[in-house]
């Protein structure tokens, strides 16, 4: 079960000019326990809050410091317009939730929960992709180690792969690392079992 999301003590920067929308938004953020500040100038990576809410109607590219890359903190966008260009801008900033203007009090908490949850999912997916890419990059090394084991033990590649895998598991190390160690002569060839 997911725990009830709680934002008490979080810092949030609202990038918006002051108006009646921000008044209602800030009130709701305060009662959700967040420490909210509002500004209409770019945020810098040295002073990042825990979360950012940005005006996608008026927003310009330098407001947020990640220039189209995956944001390092959750982003929600305030949006009154339906203009496709503004929606695209919000997406480009990495916004993972929208709070429609005029701001309804009941829209704020759901947007924070969505923004956070999707941000976490994206982070996890990106980390997973990096991990998979690394493994893919090391495939030739694994393949070379499998060939070496197959030749030594006179078995086919599938058996050899099984030997390498079991051996890596019993040493509690990634197969790629064991393969590199075998090829580098650091580890002896695993025994067939």
């Amino acid at each position: 079960m997911r725990e009830t999301p709680n934002f008490a003590g979080w810092s949030v920067t609202v990038l918006h000019r002051e108006d009646s929308n921000t008044e209602r938004l800030l009130r709701q953020l305060r009662l959700l326990g967040l420490k909210a500040t509002m500004q209409w100038k770019p945020i810098t990576t040295s002073h990042l809050p825990d979360m950012v809410i940005v005006d996608a109607d008026q927003g310009f590219d330098d407001l947020l410091p990640w220039g189209g890359d995956l944001p390092t903190i959750p982003v929600a966008a305030l949006l009154g317009s339906e203009a496709p260009g503004r929606i695209a801008w919000a997406l480009k900033q990495g916004a993972s939730a929208i709070i429609a203007k005029p701001v309804a009090a009941s829209a704020v908490y759901p947007a924070l929960v969505m923004a956070l949850s999707i941000h976490e999912e994206r982070k996890a997916a990106a980390a997973h992709a990096v991990h998979l890419e690394e493994r893919l990059r090391l495939r030739p090394i694994v393949h070379a180690a499998v060939r070496k084991i197959a030749e030594r033990h006179q078995v086919d590649d599938d058996r050899a792969y099984g030997i390498l895998r079991r051996s890596a598991m019993s040493r509690r190390m990634p197969m790629e690392q064991l393969a590199a160690s075998i090829l580098g002569g650091v580890e002896p060839l695993p025994e067939a079992s």
Binding site: M1, E3, T4, N6, F7, A8, G9, R24, R27, Q28, R30, L31, L32, G33, A104, A105, S106, Y109
Partner: protein, 386 residues
């Protein structure tokens, strides 16, 4: 149209829409709430504070709540509505109240996670009922409850929170079951409970489902004393005096309920209030928490409008926040950020006279609708009064 409308025109009176269903699955509550509102209007009138009520009865039909609220706000020109009982109805009406910039005075216990500028909440959210209830139950009965609920947002959210509280306490939820609003076939749930043997049962059913469930638990206890209320109580946050008449005599005896008011609460204000209720509605009439909170809501609304000199919601809110309002529930203060009232906690045990004996109480707790923890005052130990 699915509702009846009748207004009482009074010159320069405070106009308040009263929106309750007096038929349908929670009719007993709706009738009591309406009577509570009526009594407040009569007393205010006698004291020279005229209220012009616009009564609307949506007969428990969600669509009719919307039509009714629109009639009150647009056609009758009220800025204030006291009413709605279920969270489904409240959530249905809120967008209209926002559109016409009115104030909804919601006076029932609810599941929290809401704090709308256009709503004044005086019925209590989970840190005012469910959390202190579990503080009482877990050390005494254990942390392996069974959860039952009505199949809509109240049941779902209350049970979700209960599960979280139990998990944090290192316990286990032994089962979780839902029934549609008017469903009374409880046998499958009962046999599951009999098999799993929980430490207590959290009952978030409402109306006839709840009554059938309580009667079923009594039959179970007659077969197996492990399910007597002293061993495995059925506890709720929404059972009221006005409903106990509808439950088979003795069936709910000994079960527990949390509320911010019981008929039996011993304060001078309450005994005076009860004698006024007896004079108006007859000596046998028990005051339920919903009667008391509807009464309190209408009084608070009218007094705040008169103090503000206008029924403009912003002026009324400003007036509300600044003061502590004497009420039947004790001095009421409304938090300016959450629009929620601080409320006392009472734990009632159903007695042989279809009433509740108050067995534990806490002084007024500030509401923390989003459970951020920052508003929950350092929790005073529960004062056990008997």
């Amino acid at each position: 149209m699915g509702f009846f409308i009748f207004g009482v025109p009074v010159r320069n009176a405070v106009k308040i829409g009263i929106l309750y269903s007096t038929t349908g699955p929670y009719a007993a509550m709706g009738r009591d709430a309406r009577d509570g509102a009526q009594l407040a209007i009569e007393e205010l009138g006698a004291a020279g504070m005229a209220v012009e009520p616009v009564f609307v009865d949506p007969h428990a039909d969600l669509g009719a709540y919307l039509d009714g609220a629109r009639h009150i706000l647009r056609d009758a020109g009220c800025r204030h509505i006291v009413g709605t009982i279920t969270s489904a109805a409240r959530k249905e009406v809120i967008p209209l109240v926002e559109k016409y910039d009115g104030l909804l005075w919601y006076m029932c216990p609810y599941e929290g996670f809401e704090a709308n500028e256009n709503v004044v909440y005086i019925g209590g959210c989970p840190n005012q009922h469910l959390l202190p209830l579990f503080d009482y139950l877990i050390p005494r009965f254990g942390s392996r409850p069974y959860l039952v609920g009505a199949n809509y947002v109240w049941g779902w959210e209350m049970n979700r929170l209960a599960r979280e509280l139990i998990t944090n306490a290192g316990g286990t939820v032994l089962g979780e079951r839902y029934l549609p609003l008017e469903e009374t076939a409880v046998e499958r749930i009962l046999s599951d409970i009999e098999q799993r043997r929980p430490s207590f049962v959290l009952n978030n059913l409402i109306g006839p489902s709840s009554y059938a469930f309580l009667e079923g638990m009594r039959r179970l206890a007659e077969r197996d004393p492990a399910f007597l209320p002293e061993n495995c109580p059925v506890v709720s946050c929404d059972l009221m005096e006005c409903e106990l008449e509808d439950i088979k005599p003795g069936a709910a005896l000994g079960q527990l309920c949390a509320a911010s008011y019981f008929d039996s609460v011993e304060t001078p204000e309450n005994s005076e209030f009860k004698s006024r209720v007896a004079a108006r509605f007859g000596a046998g009439r028990r005051v339920s928490s919903i009667f008391a909170s509807a009464y309190s809501a209408v009084k608070l609304c009218a007094e705040a409008v008169l103090a503000a000199g206008s029924d403009d919601p912003e002026a009324v809110r400003r007036e509300l926040y600044g003061a502590s309002w004497p009420s039947l529930l004790g001095p009421l203060s409304i938090d300016a950020e959450t629009n929620h009232a601080a409320l006392p906690f009472h734990l009632g045990q159903i007695n042989t006279e279809n009433g509740f004996d108050v067995i534990a109480s806490r002084p007024a707790l500030a509401a923390d609708p989003y459970l951020t923890g920052k508003r929950s005052a350092p929790s005073p130990k529960l004062r056990v009064v008997s």
